[in-house]
Symmetry: C2
Subunit: 355 residues, 2 copies
């Protein structure tokens, strides 16, 4: 049995509810996979900030680093809460973790499972993965403003892109494409407007492509990519793109493949120097928090990505198969968060009690 | 009769084909509206660059400025054409015109006409307009790179946002929202990540909102906006957003409301200091150029926006009504570019001959 030190950040809103179900599913497959999870809970998010004034202390960060992986629910308070005006939970916690832990791959698969409704009339066979860069681009926080609040205010945001940063994520994307049956990689950027960053991305993809003759490479401007995501999403296999375009495309991708209630993600440090972090793409949804009605599927599918990352692909596939079987029979049934978690865990052999 | 000096830039690929039909429709309504168009053609685009090496000379620009308005088809050569490697037609021509002519409002309506197929299963009543900022943001061209081609390359892109630039486009958007029946304005940005630019946009919208108590104001992150565009596009009325987010959202908006073959746009200088420019959102589509199969509807609807801008809303509505009547009966019929233009012009009373 391998022991895995798992940092658990339930977070705010529906975060704790969905994380509870994700852990239930993890427990259901762990033993068979020869894994034992040693969990440490971290109370972080808007709730913690309101209690203590801290978003993420150095001690928190060091403690998290001592783990093998992280499972995160969702963080963020009620939009517009005046008590949160002084804090940016997203930048100070979520993005801080991604940057400090060098999560340069933000992996976001989109699969439209049979039985799941899509807003698209004829979506076709949707099964692709977005490899979103996680540590550069417009997310670096290198903006600034002068004369704030005056008619002469100027507010700048800088997108920083390095050969170092682009090459490593592009290499990861090619390896991913090469391991998939269709072996197709699409670079998405806006090379005709963002000419410096675009040129770096384009040259990097061209260079790495030479090492992967088996992978068919394609390029789309980000605006055109959104069109294809609604008119022909089945064309995509692996998309590699920058941090901001990846943010936009993956919400859209989630929407067309059954909603972000089903969208999982991994913030991965492939070098293994830092723990990788797995989280649903959705937010903390304070409006439905505490009601037991949040869909835990995205959190559960994030556990599958965690198992993949730990090298337990077979266990990950078991989780995905159980989810696929569950969603196929879901229909319009209004099940609670716990009922969904229980149903999926039961398919994995767990004995789940009454609640 | 008012004489309007119209600069016509047919451009590349399908540009000349669709512009021909747009002018036909303009002719069909001009006299009744008391307008006479004095046209000057400008040969600009990839074709001109390949012939002369010029993208847009100072003389071209001065000559264009001497006009009251501009109708543009589409510019851009065959992607990957090595002879175009040294030129960026998009930046050097299209964006240059938008910036030099201070087109700070890029107006892009999205209407799903009855009878038009949408990729969405149940799109609802889609009728909104995106007011995209046109002269700032990541489009300013203030990027740069060092150590290009080495493993130490750094490529930056700077998004520049000013109170001056944001306020004027936000004011335009509020005026537009206030004049529409639903009076609803949605700011789209990414304030949680792009905190400096986002804060400027947010504060500006809040300040101008105080002058428009009749307009209901809403905010969405750009990623969430893409979700709503496919799950509930009917919720939108006026969207105001920055240059890059507007680029992305309007292609998606075009896709869900019948395809970018129907998407019109106006690059507007509301001050009237410079001529405004009207163009379909689509590109030059070199793959179908010269075949007479391009859909001229977007170019024709751009003529309606031109008429709006000239203060001839009734004539603009006649064009839109003729288009709506045409698309309602279109079905799957495979009509040529000319047939579509003729049919719409005929509805407007034009006598159209055989071709
Ligand atoms: C909350 C926000 C900072 C975050 C992002 O923009 O990356 C979210 O939208 C996501 O996609 O994980
Ligand atoms: C061609 C390109 C520069 C342009 C843009 O990005 O604005 C186009 O996509 C558009 O939307 O008009």
């Amino acid at each position: 049995v391998t022991t895995v030190r798992l940092a658990v950040i339930p977070g705010d809103g529906i975060g704790p509810e969905v994380v509870g179900e994700a852990l239930k599913v993890l427990d259901a497959v762990a033993a068979d996979a020869g894994l034992a999870f040693e969990r440490t809970g971290f109370s972080l998010g808007a709730g913690r900030y309101l209690e203590t004034g801290d978003v993420l202390t150095d001690d928190d960060l060091e403690a998290i680093k001592a783990h093998d992986a992280i499972l995160l629910g969702a963080v963020g308070g009620v939009p517009g809460d005046p008590r949160l005006a002084g804090a940016n939970i997203e930048r100070g916690l979520l993005l801080k973790l991604r940057f400090e832990l060098d999560h340069y791959v933000n992996l976001r698969p989109s699969v439209l499972h049979p039985g799941v409704a899509s807003p698209l009339a004829s979506p076709g066979d949707v099964d692709f993965v977005v490899v979103r860069e996680g540590t550069e681009g417009p997310y670096v926080g290198n903006g600034g403003a002068i004369r704030v609040g005056t008619p002469a205010e100027v507010a700048n945001e800088v997108s920083v892109n390095t050969a170092y940063g682009v090459e490593r994520v592009v290499r990861y994307a090619f390896a991913a494409a090469s391991a998939r049956p269709r072996k197709r990689l699409t670079l998405v950027h806006k090379t005709n407007v963002l000419v410096f960053a675009g040129s770096l991305w384009k040259r990097t993809v061209d260079a790495v492509a030479a090492e992967y003759p088996d992978v068919a490479v394609d390029y789309l401007h980000v605006d055109a990519a959104t069109i294809f995501l609604v008119t022909d999403p089945a064309r995509f296999d692996v998309i590699v793109t920058d941090n901001l375009f990846g943010d936009i495309l993956t919400d859209l991708a989630g929407a067309i493949s059954g909603g972000i209630g089903l969208a999982a993600s991994g913030n991965i440090n492939p070098d293994g120097r830092f723990p990788s972090m797995f989280e649903p793409v959705h937010g903390s949804a304070p409006d439905i928090a505490g009601k037991g009605i949040a869909d835990p599927t995205a959190a559960i599918l994030s556990v599958a990505l965690l198992l993949d990352h730990l090298g337990h692909g077979a266990a990950a596939d078991r989780v995905r198969d159980a989810v696929a079987a569950d969603v196929a029979e879901r229909g319009d049934a209004n099940r609670s968060t716990t009922e969904i978690g229980d149903a999926i865990a039961a398919r994995l052999g767990a004995t789940v009690g009454a609640h």
